[in-house]
Symmetry: C2
Subunit: 169 residues, 2 copies
């Protein structure tokens, strides 16, 4: 019992490795966006689901406004964040990738500003979802992995081999 | 700089919350298995991909043999682990769910046996993949989320509404 208690309090992830883990996933997702033919990216769908461009935009919005909330404690919708105002509706693959890359830089810039001790704090994301900051970041990543997996099916249905899941460099 | 350095060494996840996170994902995946009609679970496919039963079996095998490796440092293929010999090839939804539930118990049983300090150790999973133990467990979870997302597309293509992504109780 004692051992188990000690283990449960043990640190098993640092902020630095958490950031690396997320950005590695984001590099893979970027490759998936790239694999789509331009028109299919914005139109192809299975079973009434959204095209992959919309799923990628959701990831972008969640990362952009989510990390802003993590750092500042202010949960503002992506569309209301001034820094993203110039590129809210990417209309081509290139515009989508450009926006993706902006968010990559934003994440790297904002991450070190997450206040010490913040990860364990309980907050209410977007005034709606209660949890720790770590749980929110897990959600951003898991949501991306979930939708990217759907993108893999779209690519397969289009006869395109998706990138290898474990290649994230 | 100093603040950033301190933050990067900060604990942001405990072993206990990591286990909870994984089991919450596994509860959602179990719901996805349940949603499939019996025959479609073992046969339905898009773009030459595996049916969801095979994806679920991969998750089961990765969790079963992977956690065994995490705890013991011995990386043995699932098919060679004696404790799973009785149910290696589930042939019905019920058999698959029974096996799923066995792994759920196995994970809860083995997890507290992960030696203190083990999470940060570098090992070579299955003699092939080098990384920290934490990175391996991330891989087990991410692989599950990835393939479960594909199961969502299968369900949608079959006209079935998948469970809500954020409901994991």
């Amino acid at each position: 019992m004692e051992k188990s208690k000690i283990q449960s309090e043990q640190s098993i992830l640092t902020s630095e490795s958490f950031l690396k883990h997320w950005q590695a996933h984001r590099r893979l997702t970027r490759k998936v966006i790239q694999e789509f033919p331009e028109d299919k990216l914005f139109s192809f769908s299975i079973g009434g689901m959204r095209p992959f461009s919309e799923l990628a935009k959701e990831m972008i919005e969640m990362a952009g406004s989510g990390l802003h909330g993590v750092v500042t404690g202010k949960w503002v919708k992506y569309g209301e964040l001034e820094q993203y105002a110039h590129n809210r509706e990417p209309k081509s693959k290139n515009e989508l990738l450009t926006l993706w890359d902006e968010i990559t830089v934003q994440i790297d810039t904002l991450w070190p500003k997450i206040p010490s001790g913040r990860f364990e704090e309980v907050d209410v994301a977007f005034g709606q979802y209660e949890g720790t900051i770590t749980s929110f970041i897990f959600y951003f990543i898991d949501n991306e992995v979930h939708h990217r997996g759907q993108g893999y099916v779209y690519l397969r249905a289009l006869g395109i081999a998706p990138p290898l899941f474990w290649e994230r460099d």
